[in-house]
Subunit: 349 residues, 2 copies
């Protein structure tokens, strides 16, 4: 178990601090404090709806040290990708105090000469969650033969909670005593689960092969017959990320798919984003294209309704079911049981 | 203009030496000799059907030097990816004599300490054709606004001649006086054209962005209103490479697509390859998925018929047209005019 302090300077709120809130919500490791001087004196529950934790938000690493953290996690991606100067100072302080540092940034902290030099002196470990492992290759076909039921979450856009859907369904499956493993494919998932590969950082020739490797490792972790929840990335209709999406989908070779969608999102969340296609069209296209590797269909729609009140969320779910003929539910809001049931039914379990 | 000597030791034959035969057939730069001691004393025309060149095949670099080459091109990928010892010796000899070296291998020659040291001494340049350029990013949307007609070749499998189809159509368009540019996306295309990006070597997040950059550069090279022939990679139904295929397709954002197919290839060319899907299904799926970025359809089928005699090739083309309702032709065998006509008609030119 690690004891985290999470660096979120200037940005600790649900939307900006995806890695921070993901770890706070789902990681087994405790978080002793969040650093954000602009929100110092409050607690986590003041900022993140549904996250009822009294973890303190503090102004500096010094204040966080009373909780005896052993790992600093960078909980937010700086705009523009460059580390702001005050963050650098905090990271260096952490290294000087011997804390390990975990980062999901595109620019690797272990390649930073100043950080690496300091870590060498103090013995701190610098972990770049997005750094691809060595020895990747194209798939061998092992993805088609592992003894597991593979479930992929696929989306109508990116940033809709595909990871969250996997985590909720994995939790529910384990509550029911099923062998079940969340399979992380992005930096937040890796921070939460402590393993995985950021497939969007891999050489493009090896996206499917990296995913196959995760499926094989997931099956080893879960044991024979386990359920594997493969975190999706992007969407096949996304002009920027569709290549990652499809390589990941074919590498996962799912038996079953769940579509993740945010009701009311009419256009992709990007500048001049094109319209979100009609759900039935996407549902058909995912099945057509996944089935080139293994026949699979979408059996349910997982909704992100946190922007809606209860009545609006219920209405949205009803409308999606009417439009698609599929069960539709928000696993965070209403629990993951309904969607787990349809996955188990589809996989004959 | 470069003067090439091409290293093909032990493997100068059409199927193995794709880079060598591509450069011999299509590059503007002359080739003074091919090195393959197992075929020494013959000429290129003895080994590559349809390539009527009397370029000598020689046993060593020494013998090739009478042709005054200035660049050694590695014309074949060694099985297993490691450079055999005799090749290393020839590459070192070339560097010692001051020849530049071009390589499309996965392992970069410029990262090899022995080669780099020798090149430092002699001033030879080591060019890794697959090394991605710096500063890649996701697409900006420029792919949708360049003043050009973008044509993507897409396939039913990999290794069917998508590059060749682009090169033949580009040649035919330029013969007709049209502004036309071949846009290379793999190492052989880069060797032939002298520019491009090997998109399968790019970080997966940036495949579409790298392709957009190529489209923008192609339009600059061709001038306003030019035709751009985007070399395809893999296929959307390929379990190993579909991610690259789709990122490339969405980054190219084609106006028009051509399907490339080898009649008689019933299964993908890989161990335990799955069946090649029915052509109408693939034609529909390419249109459905391309159109998420820009509406486009497949307007013709380019055939690879070099394994068939004339009568069988004619019969195969007729059968493909019957099956798909589209014109079908082998541009190498029968000229690229028919397929160019359908592309021009589709793009309203």
């Amino acid at each position: 178990m690690k004891r985290y302090v999470i660096l979120c300077e200037g940005g600790f709120a649900e939307h900006d601090a995806k890695t921070a809130t993901g770890v706070l919500r789902y990681a087994p490791d405790p978080v002793v404090a969040v650093i954000d001087s602009t929100r110092a004196g409050s607690t986590v529950r003041d900022h993140v709806p549904g996250l009822d934790l009294d973890v303190p938000v503090v102004a500096s690493l010094d204040e966080a040290m009373t909780g005896e953290p052993d790992t600093l996690l960078i909980g937010i991606a700086p705009a523009g990708g460059k580390l702001p100067a005050p963050w650098r100072a905090t990271i260096l302080q952490a290294i000087e105090r011997g804390l390990d540092v975990e980062s999901g940034l595109h620019d690797f902290i272990s390649d930073d000469a100043e950080f690496a030099g300091a870590a060498m002196r103090t013995g701190a470990e610098l972990r770049d969650l997005r750094r691809p492992p060595a020895g990747l290759d194209v798939p061998s076909g092992a993805n088609l033969t592992v003894d597991a039921t593979t479930v992929s979450t696929v989306g109508t856009d990116c940033a809709l909670g595909k990871m969250t859907v996997c985590l909720e369904l994995d939790l529910e499956a384990r509550r029911r005593g099923l062998a079940s493993v969340f399979v992380p494919t992005g930096q937040t998932g890796i921070a939460i689960a402590g393993w995985g590969i950021a497939v969007d950082e891999v050489v493009s020739d090896y996206v499917a092969g990296a995913t196959e490797r995760l499926v094989v490792e997931g099956a080893e972790r879960g044991g024979p017959g386990s359920l594997l929840w493969i975190e999706g990335q992007g969407s096949i209709n996304h002009p920027l990320y569709s290549g990652v999406t499809l390589g990941l989908l074919h590498g996962a070779a799912p038996h079953v798919m769940l579509l993740v969608h945010e009701p009311g999102r009419t256009h992709l969340d990007m500048p001049d984003g094109p319209p979100v296609p009609p759900l039935p069209q996407l549902i058909e296209d995912y099945a057509r294209i996944a089935s080139y590797v293994r026949p699979a269909r979408i059996v349910g729609v997982a909704l992100k309704t946190n922007q809606l009140d209860e009545a609006a969320a219920r209405a949205a779910a009803g409308q999606v079911t009417e439009e698609t003929g599929l069960p539709a539910s928000d696993p965070v809001r209403w629990g993951a049981g309904e969607l787990l049931d349809v996955v188990l039914a589809e996989s004959g379990r």
